[in-house]
Symmetry: C2
Subunit: 254 residues, 2 copies
DNA sequence: ACCTGAACACCGTTCAAGT
DNA sequence: ACCTGAACACCGTTCAAGT
């Protein structure tokens, strides 16, 4: 894992603890780029939580303090990692520009959820810790947002309408991801589940059992249901504004 | 702060660092209840991040390890604190039962947001760290959810419809809170804001500046806008099902 | 300039020991 | 039974020093 230089393996490292004579890799063989890559790799292999400065230094075969010559703090390192994550995310996000505005939005946010759900590191860096977004990452994000707003403007939305529309859907999507991700930390799911099971039998007069998922995170169905309603509400609100939107009423679900 | 026993202050504690002879409070003067209260107080005064076992022990004037006799881990202590938070939250949440189902939902989730926004500890314990919810806290939460589902059932919703409706709105509300809270950690907001300001001037062809809020958290207007659209979408979906809902179409916003 | 080990002030948790 | 200090394995970061 990671680039290997030639003088890096001159000692047979079959036992990881032996060979006390060898210290670190050669001088001048480390760079900010390599540190960032190593950090991203480590966090990707394990998790962002597992990424610590000592562990990173160990995996790069350098002293812990060497990292601090290239990055002033862990936060600065995370900012660089976030930049990678952002460009990767928007590199995977492609929406058919010929779709009507509502289907365009549906595709945009459905893809957003899919991409961020299948890569935990991406989700952690972009959704869970959006602090210190670099100018470069900001620019990439804004270009994508710009395409959405342009689409909505072309459909007849005003500036405020387009902005509020994007914002509310973005909050819904990222919020659902944040909740799901926040719940996925330790905690045996059996306990709560069984507790809910017990309680449902007792005094409740409605199907609270069905709501169980909400206590942690939404399932696909629930997410789509909310997205449907948002879009339906938007359609009803802007009816007459959008020109091409002669959509089929089609009862999704139920 | 906290209950004070008589033999607790027999030494004048004007200087906090002096008096090395005195060690801790009297034996048998600590309890699980008092530890939980102290922990909640400390986290409430400072923040949940600032709550550590050593700091808590110091504020309670006991040895660090004493806490571990009453709570097996910090997580177990947090579970107790979460129970307090949950009962406080639902104690503040009151919705007029005579409202129509849609206004009932609006009031329910608007209040949810208000209560959790004005008490950061509540938000941290309930929204940000929903792990290890105790059976008691689960029961309290389910009773409230039950009232919502019952309301929807009475309006003609099926079990699945009621459940999905609650779930999607709950995800939207809690998600918005999670994003807002996750963004409020260190990070100078000037930097990103100015970067956005700069970039907007450059190559964008749409009002991306308006979307700036989404890069961290939704404002009140955006939240209400999304809530409006969800409810409008639900009304359109369930038209004909709900009996009393002869609502004014009233164009909210714009 | 680049990189180092040692040290600092934290953290959650355990353990053997005291009363 | 209740409570203790010392210790362990971590963490992010700093500092004086080496090359």
């Amino acid at each position: 894992m990671g680039a290997i230089r030639e003088d890096d393996v001159k000692v047979s490292a079959s036992q990881p603890d032996g060979n006390a004579q060898r210290k670190h890799r050669a001088r001048g063989s480390i760079s900010a780029e390599e540190i960032a890559s190593g950090a991203y790799q480590l966090a990707s292999d394990e998790s962002l939580e597992a990424l610590s400065m000592p562990r990173l230094a160990h995996s790069l075969d350098v002293g812990v303090t060497s990292i601090y010559w290239y990055f002033r703090s862990k936060d600065e390192l995370l900012e660089t990692m976030r930049e990678r994550a952002v460009s990767k995310f928007y590199g995977d996000l492609h929406v058919d520009p010929d779709l009507d505005w509502d289907e365009y939005l549906r595709s945009y946010f459905r893809q957003t959820r899919r991409i961020l759900r299948q890569d935990r590191l991406l989700c952690d860096l972009i959704v869970m810790r959006p602090q210190n977004v670099s100018p470069v990452a900001t620019r990439i994000a804004l270009q994508s947002i710009d395409s959405v707003l342009t689409k909505l403007r072309a459909a007849g939305f005003s500036d405020e309408q387009a902005s509020s529309t994007y914002n509310s859907l973005s909050v819904y999507t990222r919020g659902a991801l944040a909740l799901e991700r926040g719940w996925q930390s330790s905690s045996p799911p059996d306990e709560t589940a069984s507790a809910v099971g017990l309680l449902t039998v007792e005094g409740m007069q409605s199907p609270v059992a069905l709501v169980r998922s909400t206590l942690h995170a939404p399932c696909d169905e629930d997410f789509e249901f909310g997205l449907d309603n948002m879009l339906r509400g938007l359609r009803a609100l802007y009816d007459g504004i959008a020109s091409k939107s002669t959509r089929v009423p089609g009862s999704s679900r139920a």
